[in-house]
Symmetry: C2
Subunit: 220 residues, 2 copies
Amino acid sequence: MQSYTEENYLKTIYHLAERTTNVQTNAIAEQMQTKPASVTDMIKKLADKGLVDYIKYQGVTLTEIGKNTAIDIVRKHRLWEVFLVDKLNFKWDEVHDVAEELEHIKSVELIERLDEFLGFPKADPHGDPIPDKNGRFAKTQFIKLIELKVGDSGTITGVSQHSSAFLKHLEKLGLTLGKQIQISDVTDFDGSVEIKLSDKQVNISREVAKHILISSNGKN
Amino acid sequence: MQSYTEENYLKTIYHLAERTTNVQTNAIAEQMQTKPASVTDMIKKLADKGLVDYIKYQGVTLTEIGKNTAIDIVRKHRLWEVFLVDKLNFKWDEVHDVAEELEHIKSVELIERLDEFLGFPKADPHGDPIPDKNGRFAKTQFIKLIELKVGDSGTITGVSQHSSAFLKHLEKLGLTLGKQIQISDVTDFDGSVEIKLSDKQVNISREVAKHILISSNGKN
DNA sequence: AAAAATTTTTAGATTTACCTAAAAATTTAA
DNA sequence: TTAAATTTTTAGGTAAATCTAAAAATTTTT
C-alpha cells in the first residue's frame, strides 16, 4: 500500500519515463514542484520498497511492480476525467485538478464499477488511452498535425498539451476531439497551418499544430 | 483550508454533538481510534483556527464555522453514497468506507454538479438527510420502530446503525427503505417484534427494532 | 585533462499527526 | 469531604515528507 505522495512520485516517474529511460532527480523535482533533496529522499524509500531501481547519481527506472502501480493510477485518473466530462458536464479543460485528487481513492471495486458505468471507455477527454484493468493500453496511431502535408486529412483524436489555456483555445476554434480536418495550406513565413473543417476554415500557429494529434485517413 | 485529518475530527465532533452538548476528549479518541493525548493536541489546533470552542477539561463545541465545515463534509459523504448505490449499484452496506475517502475531495463545483446529476436527493441510502448546499437539512419525522404499538403502521425510512452486519441482516429480511410495515405483535418474553410486510411476516429482535426508523402514517 | 558548470546527495532542521508515560484536574464513591 | 477512580493534559519522542546549505559526483567546456 502506497501513500498519496508515493503514488504521485510513481505517476510522475512513469510519465517522465515515456521520454527518457533513466529519469533524473531534477526532472522529478521540477515536475512535482519540490526540491531535488526531497526527491532523493523519496527515491530511496521507493527503492527500499522495490518500486524503483535506483543507482546513485544515475536516476531511476520503475520496477515491474512500480510500473503497474503507476499505470493503475493513470487508469483511475483518466476514468474519472471521463466521468467528469460525460456525466457531470465538465469541460475538458476543467477536469485535471479534480481527477488528481480522485485518482488516489483506493477501491478496486469502485473503479471496476465506474469503468462499467462509463461503458469501458478507451480514451479520456483529451484522447489519452485508458489502460484496462490488467494495465493494457489499446494501440493508438497518432500523427502530430504538424507532420501532415497540404491535402492530407484526418480526425482529431488527441492533444499533447493539457493546459487550460491551450484547451480553451482549441475549443474556441472548434478543434475538438472527433472533428474531421483537412490541411489546406501551410504558410512559409511562420509555419502556421490553414485547416479546413466541415463548416469553416481556421488558422493555427505552428506551436498549436504541434500539440494536436490526428488519426490519419490517408494522404492525398 | 483544512487537512484530511482536521476534517475527520470536525465530522466526528459534529456527530458526537448530536447527543451531548460538550464533546469529551475520550469520546473523540474512541470514535477516531486514536489516543486522548492526540485528541488534545488536535483540539488545540482546531481552537487556534477558530473551528471549535475549547475550555480545558470541559470538552469542545463547534463554532459556527466549524459546524458549517462539518456539515459540508456530511453532505459530501451522503451524496457520494447515493452515487455509489444509485449509479454504481453498490449495496447499502458497502458504501461507507469508500465514501469516507470521497468526502474529502475538495471541489465545490464537483459536489454541486454531482448533486444535480443525482437529482438533488434528500436522503442517503440509509435514510440520513442530505443537507443542501447552504447546509440546511430537510425536516425529518422519524419514530423508532421499537416505539410503535401493535397495529401501528408506517414506512421504513432510515436506520440508526450502519454496520455492514446489521444492514445485511435487514436486507435478508426484506426490511429495506421504502417498505410498508405494520406491527402485528410484540412478544412479552424478549420484546421481539412481529412485523407484517406486504408479502410476508417477519420477526425481529428488540435490538434490531431499536435501529429501524419509521415515518409513521398514523396509529390504529 | 583540468577547470567550470551542473546535478545529485548528505546533513541537519521543520511540521504534522501521532505515540507513551506521568502529572494534574475533575468526578464519583465511601 | 476525603479517598479513589476517571478523565484530561503535559512533556518528551517518533515517523513521514518536506526544506536549506554545503559537500560530492558527474558532465561539459575550454
